[in-house]
Structures are given as structure tokens and as C-alpha cells.
Subunit: 397 residues, 2 copies
């Protein structure tokens, strides 16, 4: 048995807000501000350059990586933190392609987060060696895993629909044809149960500002399967991935294990706040968290569908094939979401017509879901989104 959920007392959630956007930017953990103060005033300010040792800054990326490893079912030392998710995608893909030099196909899907596809495009152009990126529909991925494929690169949980790929089955299929597997866990880490070690996938990448509540621009992470990591020559071979960064050698020698996937100087302020945020996961049983996520999501679907016939479910109805979010399609979804946000229920919108709601069992309960559904009903039934003010808003998120 884990600690009981939710743990609202650990977070500062604004009065009058029901936050269904933790899948985009998690809420503020109560300890974050104090931790930032400590890092800035007592460490940077008082200890200055010495803080790299005296305040544990040098070790921080690894300490945080080990905590994340635990959350994704990976062993200590197998996860490195830093950079952004896009950079980590590039690192994983560049390394994976080197593992299958005789194959020229990268397989993803057209539901993947665009930046993952863009990073693959950029790598393909940079290499200029005839690589192809294939992006079939998500449901056609399994059939598209053929012996031509060098790397299968997928985001487990679709950022728009919440549809979840079967990690075990796809990884197994990829390995059957000799392909390397990369999972993007952006919408998985802290949202669904993960066992990266059991999956046997070679790589996983993810971000920490969504379900992990690390704050805006919190660093990304990369997992590399321990039995292959020592053979990887990182494409982004920065000094903090060097075996002896301060020896100032002229040639690169990779650090042991996944530390070699580090690149430059770590973002200490962001890492410190993330480390604090991760304490909210202490004692959480991920099976219980997943069960709570499914209960909240199912309740939301039931409540919204019975109240709002004009909204069309754009997520899988079956909870086991869904991450921790629920989306509805609506022609005027952008405007409707603005009107809903104005009334204290914060979800978000993704082009072209997706109203997206995320469920974070760390700080949401059933009463929040009912209250949110009531507000959505009011906006939809009265067409409050037709108000003039929503039409003049700049559309930038």
C-alpha cells in the first residue's frame, strides 16, 4: 500500500481553480519556492563557485536521474537528466541509427509529438545518408515494423488523444525484426505504470514539467538500457558526458553508463526545483496511482458525455488503452476552452479541434471532476464561448 491519494496538501493550487492541465505543466509543489531560495541565496550567493561541490551541484543531475529511474522502472545509473526532450530524442535516435548501420528507415507515427518528428528530420538532413522517416497512423505502426526498419521511435501516450501504445508488444515486435526501440515518455512518466527494464527497449526519453511537476522548462531525461550503454558513442559528446570532465583532455572519452548522455553544464536552479518536486512521489504506489487516474478519467468521460452531447470523445473509451488524459473534439474547441478556463477549469487546446483535459491523481479527487463537468456543461449548454471577448484573443497556446 502506498500513501493515500490525492496529496493536495503538498501543492499550492490557486483558490477556485480545478487544474486539468498537469499533462502540460504540473502545479507548484509547496517546497519549490523555498528550495529555489535556498539554491539561489545559500548556495549560489554564499558559496559561489564552491557550491558545485559543497552544495552537491555536481552530483545533482545523477541524483535526480536516479529518482526518475525509480519512477519509470529503471535501475539506478540508467537515467541521465538535462537539456530538453527534443535534444534527448536526437541523442537517442543518433545512437540508435549507429546500432543498425545497414538499415535506412526510421519508423514513427503521425500521432507523435511534432518535435520528435522534427528532430528526426533534422538528423536525417544532417546525416545526408538516405534515411527515411515513415509516419503511418498509430494503429498501423505494428504492421509497419518490418526488417527494413532501423529504429522504431514512438511516444507511448498520444499528446492529443491520450491513446496509449502497447509498449511491451511493440517493443517485442521491433526486436523480432532487429530494430532498435525508442520510447518517448513525455505523457507517461508519473502518469502510467512503467517498467522500462522489463520492456527491454533500448532507449526512453521524457520531460519533467508535466506529471512530475518540475516547473516550466524543467530538464529532460534519457534512459539507456544498461547492457548496451557502454557501446554507445554519443553524438552530442559534451564535457559533462566525458569520463573526466575536469582533466580537460583534448579528446572525448565517454563517461561510464548513461552519464555519457549528459552534454553541458546542468541547469542547477531547474534541477533543484525538480528534485524538490519529486519528493511528492515518495511512497506513491504507481499501481494505485494508475488506478486512480483511470477512475478519474472514466468519471470525467461519464460526467461530460451525459451533460454535453455536442462534445465528441476523441480518446479511447477503454481506460487500459489510454494515458492520463481525456480529449473531446469540438469545432469551436479553442473558444470553448477559453470560456472554460475563464471559469476556473483549466484544460488546454491542441489544433485543430481538440479540448484536452489531464488527470493527475496526486492533486485531483472525484469532487474536482464533478465540479469541472458542471462548469463545462454550463459553458457548452449556454454557448458562453460565443462571447465577443474570446474572439479577440490571440491564439498562441
Amino acid at each position: 500500500m502506498g500513501v493515500s491519494l490525492p496529496r493536495k496538501e503538498l501543492f499550492d493550487i490557486p483558490e477556485g481553480v480545478i487544474y486539468l492541465d498537469g499533462n502540460s505543466l504540473g502545479v507548484l509543489p509547496k517546497g519549490a519556492a523555498a528550495r529555489a531560495q535556498q539554491t539561489i541565496t545559500e548556495e549560489w550567493g554564499a558559496q559561489l563557485i564552491r557550491a558545485w561541490n559543497s552544495a552537491g551541484w555536481m552530483a545533482l543531475p545523477q541524483v535526480v536521474g536516479d529518482r526518475i529511474a525509480d519512477l519509470i522502472g529503471a535501475p539506478a545509473g540508467s537515467v541521465a537528466t538535462g537539456d530538453t526532450l527534443s535534444i534527448k530524442v536526437y541523442q537517442a535516435l543518433a545512437a540508435a541509427l549507429k546500432m543498425r548501420p545497414d538499415r535506412k528507415v526510421i519508423l514513427s507515427d503521425n500521432g507523435n509529438f511534432p518535435s520528435d518528428l522534427y528532430m528526426a528530420e533534422g538528423l536525417i538532413k544532417t546525416l545526408d545518408q538516405g534515411y527515411t522517416l515513415r509516419t503511418p497512423a498509430p494503429e498501423e505502426v505494428m504492421a509497419a515494423i518490418t526488417e527494413e526498419v532501423a529504429v522504431v521511435m514512438l511516444t507511448q501516450v498520444d499528446y492529443r488523444s491520450g491513446r496509449m501504445h502497447d509498449m511491451a508488444a511493440i517493443t517485442q515486435r521491433a526486436h523480432e525484426v532487429g530494430a532498435v526501440m525508442i520510447w518517448d515518455l513525455a505523457h507517461s512518466a508519473g502518469a502510467v505504470q512503467l517498467d522500462m527494464a522489463a520492456s527491454k527497449a533500448e532507449f526512453a526519453v521524457g520531460c519533467s514539467y508535466k506529471y512530475l511537476n518540475g516547473g516550466p522548462g524543467a530538464p529532460a531525461f534519457i534512459y539507456v538500457r544498461p547492457d548496451i550503454v557502454e557501446s554507445i558513442e554519443p553524438a552530442l559528446s559534451g564535457w559533462l558526458g566525458h569520463d573526466a570532465p575536469f582533466a580537460m583532455e583534448l579528446s572525448y572519452r565517454p563517461a561510464s553508463a548513461t552519464e555519457r548522455m549528459r552534454v553541458g553544464t546542468p541547469p542547477i536552479l531547474q534541477l533543484a526545483v525538480l528534485q524538490e518536486a519529486l519528493t511528492a512521489w515518495d511512497g506513491v504506489d504507481m499501481a494505485e496511482l494508475r488506478a486512480a487516474s483511470q477512475r478519474l478519467s472514466d468519471l470525467f468521460i461519464t460526467e461530460v458525455e451525459k451533460r454535453c452531447p455536442m462534445l465528441t470523445l476523441a480518446s479511447p473509451r477503454e481506460a487500459s488503452t489510454r494515458g492520463s488524459q481525456v480529449s473531446f473534439a469540438f469545432e469551436h474547441g479553442y473558444l470553448a476552452m477559453q470560456a472554460i478556463i475563464d471559469r476556473g477549469v483549466i484544460g488546454d487546446f491542441r489544433a485543430p479541434n481538440i479540448m484536452r483535459f489531464g488527470f493527475t491523481p496526486l492533486y485531483l479527487d472525484d469532487a474536482d471532476i464533478i465540479a469541472a463537468a458542471e462548469i463545462i456543461e454550463e459553458v457548452m449548454a449556454k454557448e458562453l464561448w460565443r462571447a465577443e471577448k474570446y474572439n479577440v484573443r490571440l491564439r498562441v497556446t
Copy 2:
């Protein structure tokens, strides 16, 4: 006339410390802690996902980039911020190589910061197209710029000795042979007068945690010459370098100008603190700053040489060929630096035998230099570094 220097009142410097390591990690600006609190509590905490617009987070990388552009003599819109310096080196080098597809030589020097060389190595291995990295001694670089060279990639100010390359002459020579020029400004930005536009160099990269006082892990920056930027296809083509990130298109289309060199979600906490730190530069005349830097550095050399005959100057004696630091070589430099730091004068050590002292006219004056020299004299004359405690310290910085 600029504001008078130093501006110690803008910084929180610990009592009893003379900080000669602002070339490694700048001191804490007084407003940084409050700015971090605001970003965390009032923006992240209270506005949540809406803060990307309501608190100006989306625009922050560009706003900070424009401020840095001004400090390096570059036009607004020509500098993008984010990631680490190593990543920005990779981006610049990958783009530069594409500009000279018929040439296979990258020219740097063996005094360059190792991570720049490592990133070049990683790119060369990743491309696997027969590229070579040449690293002659710094003084032999000019003669090594031949028509074989695709890219000249140098750090203007040597991280160990402070020796400064002649940016104008080298860039001109590179262009005479048809090579592309990349300058690393890690030890230049905020330290010496820069006029990137006049230099005609195609690329410059730098970091913001040294002389710019952005704090540990503050983001890096990249400058691209405006007349070539629209032809660049970024190797690291992330969604925030896309022309329309939130349109969620499946294919990459670069944003206009240097914005295309952005990659992933920006580190908002670090950027906010950096923006605050950059206000210390408001009204500073860079010619006056450079003059103050040379005066402080010359005074330090004079005072240390007359007091410490066992130390050998490892920096150019002529101020115009030196950045804003002075190094001395000493066989037991690591231990001596520990003893000096223990007495409140903070410099640092770089392998194999370099005691390094940085001069930051924003928060140092002549009295600091004299006081520092007196402490160094005491440590050296009495061989205080021979104390047992210095021999048991782990050597990690």
C-alpha cells in the same frame, strides 16, 4: 559616459570574500532571488499554464536574446537563447559545415575549451563523411587557415591563460580562404568589447553564467549573421525553432531569423533570473568596462609578481591581447588555490598547474585587488598550502 563602475550595490557578495572567479560563475545579483520567487509563486503557481502568455514566458527567450545581442554588438533578432553552450557549438558547426560541402577540415586550436572540441568530434563521428578536426597551437592558427578549411571554430579568450585571439584579423583571414567563422564568446561576453556585426563572423556562441551573472546552468546563446540565417536548415530542428510551433504540423519549417536555432521548451526559471541579472548592464559603457578590466588585471599582475616570485605569469603581459583574467602557473597550484580560497580570495584551478583569477569590473575595485594580492602573498610566502587538510581534499573542480 556610462554608469560608474564598480556597481557593487547591485550584487550580494559574501562578507569577507574577494571573488576572482566571476569568469567561472558570476556572483548573485540582488534582484535574482525575488525574481525567482515571482516566477515560481506569482507566475507558475498562480497562473499555471496560462503564464506562457500572461507572464510573457513565450517571449522570454527572444527578449533575453535581444539584451545579449546588445552586449555583443549584434542587432536585435540575431541572438537566440536556450540549451547549453555545447549544444550551441554543435548547432553552429553543423550549420557551418553545410555551407561548405566540398571541404572537410574543421580548424580549431589546442587551447580551445575541451567541450567545443568534443562536440566537433561527436559531429564528425555522427556525420561519418571524412571530416577532420585540426587543433594547432593558438599562435599557429592564422597560418593554418588554408583553402582546405571549411570552418574555423575558436574561443576568443583562452579559458586557461586569458590569451585573446584577434577576432577581426582571424575572421578576415577565414573569409579570404572561403571558410566559415564561429566564435565562442564564453570568456568574452560581458568581459571585453565585442562588435559581432563588424566582425562579419557567421556564428558566435556563448554562455551566460560567467560575466553575465545568470546563475548556475543559465542558458547559452547563439548569434547568426542576419544575411545568412534564412538559408540555414538547423540540425537540431526542435519545435520551438519551428515557424508555427503550435500549429503541430508534421514537417519542420524553420522560424525566421535566429529563432530557428531554438530547440525545445525554454528553461523559464533560469531565463527569468538571467533577465534580472542582465539589468546590471543597463547603462554600462563597454569601452569603460574594458578599460577597468585592463586596469584591474594589470594591477593584479604587478602586485602578485612583486610579492610572489614563485608564481609564473601564464597569461599575456600585454593587456590588449588578454581577456579579463590572469593566470599564474605553479607546480602545487591546486593546493595553493585551496589555501587561498580558504582565506577568502576565490579563484580557481585548471589542470595541470594553472591558478586562474578573473576580473569583473561590475563588482571589483582596486582595493579588492590589493587585498587579494596580500592574501596570496601570505599563502605563498608561508607555504600555507602545505597544511595537511589540503592534501586530503577530493580534487573535483
